[in-house]
């Protein structure tokens, strides 16, 4: 019998997330919400890198721009929360359409450079435009009420709302990957000329995948701006674009759950690096290790290097390979 390891693991994951607020003394809901936003972001990115074979180095633009639009529409225009989220998502989708139309004209390394450059343009625009608040960003975005009566200022209410968004987005990506459309994307990833010769309009498929990925990244960014009540330049900076690549690579490119694992690891690491450094310094007696907390970029970069050199399948990919060797038939895709 074929066990779909993914399905089981996903159910376990969402079951745990449903129960997580019970342990809110140990795990902050806001931290988990942040992780879920990034997990959605990385999953959306993985749809492009893992299943279509396109490396976008500009996904921060979608995350950040959507966050700004959501923040602005809710804070300055008084939109209800759900409408603000929609506005952000649609903006990211449109931006994705523009980026995608330009970038799919080239492939491989050029694709990565083009998306990076376009995202940098969005960064400069965000820096200069009035509505983004420039260096300060948009602060104190009100969380508002869902559908007018569920108060999202309550962390637990918001938690389940974010969980629903993450679940919905995750399900959408899962369905996309396992649809006939997803099969065509994988065909393009494996052998583009062949897909062309079979009569598929490859550019169109790539573009649609790009727009879906961008819109869902936008949804993640919008949600994040509501959760943290902040939209800032960090989210549009190229470090963020690199960060989502790292999450996906570390978790496992082209695996369903990899980006979720990767996002949780990277976000957890960023939050806990200071503690880890102090602990290491205490344990080993090397004081220099306590500065690890200040050097997040160094650690991020090192993980990147190690992943690329020795660990290209990522955590989930390696686990799946391990289980496969033990004889159980598991699909990680």
């Amino acid at each position: 019998m074929k066990i779909s390891g993914n399905l089981i693991a996903s159910f376990v994951l969402f079951g745990l997330l449903l129960l997580a607020p019970l342990a809110r003394e140990a795990i902050y809901p806001v931290f988990l919400m942040k992780v879920m936003c990034f997990a959605l972001f990385a999953s959306a990115f993985n749809l492009l890198l893992g299943y279509t074979g396109l490396l976008s180095f500009g996904h921060a633009a979608f995350l950040g721009a959507a966050g700004y639009v959501t923040g602005y529409t809710i804070k300055a225009l008084g939109f209800p929360t759900e409408l603000g989220l929609m506005a952000g998502t649609v903006t990211a989708g449109l931006l994705g359409f523009i980026f995608g139309s330009l970038a799919i004209r080239r492939s491989g390394i050029y694709f990565a450079m083009i998306t990076l450059a376009l995202a940098q343009m969005v960064f400069f625009l965000a820096l200069q435009m009035k509505f983004t608040g420039g260096e300060d960003g948009l602060q104190g975005i009100p969380r508002g009420k869902l559908l007018g009566f569920i108060d999202l200022r309550d962390d637990i209410n918001l938690y389940y709302f974010v969980l629903a968004i993450f679940g919905g987005g995750f399900w959408l990506i899962y369905r996309t990957i396992h649809s006939p459309f997803g099969q065509v994307l994988k065909a393009i990833r494996e052998n583009e000329p062949r897909a062309v010769s079979l009569g598929y309009d490859v550019s169109k498929y790539k573009l649609v995948a790009f727009v879906i990925s961008a819109a869902l990244s936008g949804l993640a960014g919008s949600t994040k701006s509501v959760v943290l009540q902040l939209a800032s330049l960090t989210d549009v900076h190229w470090h963020m674009s690199g960060s989502v690549v790292l999450m996906t690579l570390l978790g496992g490119v082209g695996t369903v759950l990899g980006p979720v694992v990767g996002a949780a690891t990277v976000i957890g690491l960023e939050n806990k690096l200071g503690d880890l450094g102090n602990w290491l310094a205490g344990a080993t007696g090397i004081n220099a290790l306590s500065t690890i907390g200040e050097a997040v970029t160094i650690v991020t970069g090192l993980i990147f290097v190690v992943c690329v050199l020795t660990f290209r399948r990522g955590i989930v990919g390696e686990l799946a390979a391990l289980v496969k060797r033990s004889g159980v038939n598991v699909k990680s895709e």
Partner: protein
Amino acid sequence: MEIFGVPLNALYAQLLLGLMNGSFYAILSLGLAVIFGMLNIINFTHGAQYMMGAFVAWVLLSRFGVNYWLALVLSPLIVAAVGIVIERTMLKRLYHLDHLYGLLLTFGLALVIEGLFRVQYGISGEAYPVPEALTGGTDLGFMFLPNYRGWVVVASLVVCFATWYIIERTKLGSYLRAGTENPKLLQAFGINVPLMITLTYGFGVALAAFAGVLAAPIFQVNPLMGSNLIIVVFAVVVIGGMGSILGSIVTGLGLGLVEALTRVYYPEASAVVIFVIMAVVLLLRPAGLFGRES
């Protein structure tokens, strides 16, 4: 005299600034193109290596009293040596894989290098004095030319054209071009291709470091000086295409000038103008101005 409401002197000064920025774009995109031709890798570390070039020059001066002219030679050599170690120990393992892994590895390395310098030197930046022989300026009659800026343009152009000459007109260059076309065949002819790849990477990195030393007296020597520049250079590379050496040089200089003109006439757009041009070029000529469709 004024052109479209801008005094001629101010216009010339901005154009010179543009030419200078353009020289940096030219050297850096040239280095990227040389590395890409041989290694098929986009060297994301290029910006960090440019920054290292500037820092090594600064350390040489402040710790060891090594003057600018010596640093102009020593710093690229030192940074290239570090680059060669990176190539031998890490990049080498990725040649049989998708090119994107090379991009990811060099991206990670760029983060590490930048982070290390930030921990060591902070982000406030260090000042590097203009060498004595090049202080002051010259009155050209129609404009005032700060000597150092003029020197940067001349030095970059000389290095760029020397690179062009080596690659297009010498025997060594012919090996290099052959290696770009078909490394297996070249290896079969008895050329040590892996060594050539290593030296090519070292040379490309040295170009970046050279640009860094040139930049040191103009900009603050700062751990972040390379990362923003390199993204613009990527756009320059997309616009020009990496197929031609002269193409890289011309595109780099031209875009520097366009950026300067934008700064004069519509300053709000000066930060994004190169990206806009990239978008337009992609629409009209996806392979780039000097690129070949592959």
